[in-house]
């Protein structure tokens, strides 16, 4: 089960800067987090909740902000916080979809590790999640296959030892682009904006993850585009590139017609992500 926590680490970049949130906003954020955890348990079984990560909370916040205009909260205890009652967002279609997206990403990451590294730990975790897989494939079969195609493309590129960072991150970016636009988003403009945000975020996550994993991949002799290119990446150049990447995402975000959650989303997009970028480039462990 510990291994599922490392899946969680791989996608843990999109989070709030807590110090700059109002207490009220932070409570709303937590209610999404708890709501998503509860949704995971009820829809995909007990074990799936160990994969809960901040990125899927962000997706739930974002989708909620464009399609609904009120909060629907319950207050109850849970296994992680047995002593106090906490506000928990009731399961709705945004939470339910974000939970599915999280399960899909976790399963694909595990499949990829089993195939590439023959990891026993991954195989065991995957086995535990087979029930969740059956459920997610039943409800989101087409989505699952589309996402798997992107992961297959990515592993093809990795096999061919591609070091072109644009080409590699493009594939992962398309994966998030797909996941960011659920069927229930009917407005075409909103769908376009969400798709672009997902795409840009995917690029950011791929590149920053590759950079952060350089040391680890060197030891394990795993694939890493920065190692393949043979020269140490120029930090200033990389910082400019990723900041432009984030600014492009932020500019698209500003075009959305948000009904709720704006301060929290602003915090994640303008402070959380740039904080992760700065810390990672400085070599401070963000997700330790």
């Amino acid at each position: 089960m510990l291994y599922l926590l490392s899946v969680r680490k791989m996608f843990g970049y999109v989070k709030v800067t807590k110090d700059e949130l109002k207490v009220r906003e932070y409570n709303v954020y937590k209610s999404y987090y708890c709501g998503l955890c509860k949704t995971l348990k009820s829809e995909y079984g007990y074990f799936s909740r160990f994969g809960l990560n901040y990125d899927s909370v962000f997706l739930a916040l974002l989708l909620s902000s464009v399609i609904q205009d009120e909060y629907d909260c319950d207050s109850s205890r849970c296994i992680a916080h047995p002593t106090e009652k906490r506000p928990i967002m009731k399961t709705n279609k945004c939470l339910s979809y974000s939970a599915a997206a999280m399960v899909i990403l976790a399963l694909l990451k595990l499949e990829d590790d089993i195939r590439d590294e023959h990891s026993v730990k991954s195989a065991l975790t995957y086995f535990v999640l087979l029930g969740a897989k059956r459920k997610v494939k039943k409800r989101y079969g087409a989505l699952f296959d589309k996402c798997r195609q992107q992961i297959n493309k990515l592993s093809e590129l990795e096999k061919n030892k591609t070091s072109n960072i644009d080409e590699l991150s493009d594939v992962f970016a398309h994966l998030l682009e797909i996941l960011f636009v659920p069927d229930f988003i009917e407005d075409e403009t909103t769908a376009r904006i969400l798709a672009h945000m997902g795409y840009m975020l995917g690029r950011f996550i791929y590149i920053i993850d590759a950079y952060e994993d350089m040391e680890k991949d060197k030891k394990k002799k795993s694939f890493n585009p920065f190692l393949l290119s043979g020269k140490e990446p120029d930090k200033d150049e990389l910082s400019d590139l990723l900041t432009f990447n984030l600014s492009s995402m932020a500019n698209s975000y500003e075009l959305l017609d948000l009904k709720i959650n704006k301060p929290i989303l602003n915090n994640i997009i303008y402070l959380g992500l740039s904080g992760v970028l700065d810390k990672t480039l400085k070599g401070e462990k963000e997700n330790a």
Partner: protein, 193 residues
Amino acid sequence: MRDPYEVLGVSKDASQDEIKSAYRKLAKQYHPDRYVGNPLADLAAEKFKEINEAYDTLTGGNSSNSSNNSRSYSGTGTYAQIRNYINMRNFGEAERLLDDVSDRGAEWFYLKGVVCLGRGWHAQGINFIRQAVNLEPNNMEYRRTLASIEHQTRGYREVGGDMSSDTACNCCSNLICADCCCECMGGDLISCC
């Protein structure tokens, strides 16, 4: 047309100054320069137009910003055709035409860069545009695009900077300022410096 007060996000009894400052903030946010290389530039242009119209309605003036940025290229050359595809956000077709060009000058690098940016391939896009500027340093179009990329990056950081109340830093710099002032007046606030 939407309610102009709503568009600018001000109340019905807002003063002219409030309207002006709300307008300035929004016009900065949705200015076409911020969306150079962004495939959603058309949506931003619509929003920009709406803001300008709302401002004009409320102030009875003519906003200086209402420029029409969507030019169509009527030339027959390959580059004009490529530019038209870029305007229509058909980056795939634009790229296909570009790849067929064998004589590659500054304009080729520029257009290739714009196509890459539109597709989100930022690393290559920025490099191509830099190359175009190097080849033709006096071309204003190329230089403006490069400047806009830098401007966007800075703009993003500024919003983050405005949001965070980075008091520790301000506090120190304020103290040092105060100390300098005191010393000018003959006193001292921080005795060690």
